[in-house]
């Protein structure tokens, strides 16, 4: 699933490790989500959405118009 995580992280000037620290996950988890190799669980998606002050749909794009 595509997402805007890399863009949102870049806007804040955070490294993957810093974002991982905010989300209490590993750096590998952030990298896997950013590259679309792993779709986060619903609780983690909510955590990401809360951290960036956006809705889940604004961050994760399911490709359906």
């Amino acid at each position: 699933m595509e997402n805007r995580l890399r863009i949102l992280r870049a806007e804040r000037g955070w490294s993957q490790a810093e974002l991982a620290g905010h989300l209490d996950v590993s750096r590998q988890a952030v990298n896997a989500i950013e590259t679309g190799k792993y779709d986060p669980s619903l609780p983690l998606a909510f955590k990401i959405a809360r951290l960036f002050g956006q809705s889940i749909e604004q961050i994760f794009l399911d490709g359906v118009k």
């Binding site: 996950v25 590998q28 989500i33 986060p40």
Partner: protein, 222 residues
């Protein structure tokens, strides 16, 4: 020479290479400690020293391997800076330290339990030689307890992504096992491979664990 210069090779490793190096060092270290323990145990049991020079050469090699893995692990752990680690990373590395503390003595214990006359590593791990009933009961309780406690500690410390990696790798490993076992049984009935023994069964389980480790690493670090 300061620590930074001395352990320069550690700083050139990426996170994935570091993890692989730590796991490899643990496995090699465990193997070497098991060999040293087995050799010492066999000498104590026999009450006489081996006559072949090769035995001493292997023993010295194993001592060297223990020292080498100790140095590798020390260098790797010295390169970790707790003040720069996130809360998650601290919990994660503590978890691995606890798991190593639980499983390494258990591995040595099982290797020593499997000792027999030739005391080679393969015979130690795959030995089916009789042991005392009480030793068997204690060993079984210890193995079950460590495995269950390890699983609880591991699952409490990992994140969603690693859970995903673990569950997929477990599924693939189970299917490997579920295929390898009946395949061997069929081929053995056709006289193409040796009949199934407990040693071969343990080898299939070991291969399943290797498959799980490979798939886990692929999902975790790809």
């Amino acid at each position: 020479m300061d620590v930074q210069q001395r352990d320069g090779w550690v700083n050139r490793l990426g996170p994935a290479s570091r993890t692989v190096a730590i796991i490899a060092a643990f496995v090699l270290g465990l193997f070497a400690i098991g060999m040293v323990a087995g050799f010492s145990y066999a000498v104590i049991e026999d009450g006489k020293l081996p006559t072949k020079p090769l035995a001493y050469l292997i023993f010295a090699g194993m001592i060297g391997l223990v020292a080498l893995t100790g140095w590798v692990l020390l260098s790797l752990f010295r390169s970790i800076h707790p003040e720069r680690m996130s809360g998650f990373d601290k919990r994660y590395w503590k978890m691995w330290a606890v798991l190593a503390g639980l499983s390494v003595p258990l591995g040595i214990d099982i290797a020593v339990l499997g000792l027999n006359e030739d005391a080679s590593f393969v015979s130690m791990v795959l030995s089916s030689a009789p042991i005392a009933p009480l030793t068997a009961i204690l060993g079984s309780i210890l193995l079950s307890a460590v495995l269950i406690v390890s699983m609880v500690i591991y699952f409490r410390a990992i994140d969603d992504h690693e859970k995903h990696a673990y569950l997929w790798s477990s599924t693939v490993a189970f299917h490997f096992f579920a295929l390898a076992f009946p395949l061997h049984w069929l081929l053995a009935r056709g006289g193409l491979v040796p009949a199934l023994t407990i040693g071969i069964a343990l080898l299939i389980i070991l291969l399943s664990c290797v498959v799980q480790a490979i798939v886990w690493a692929l999902f975790k670090f790809r």
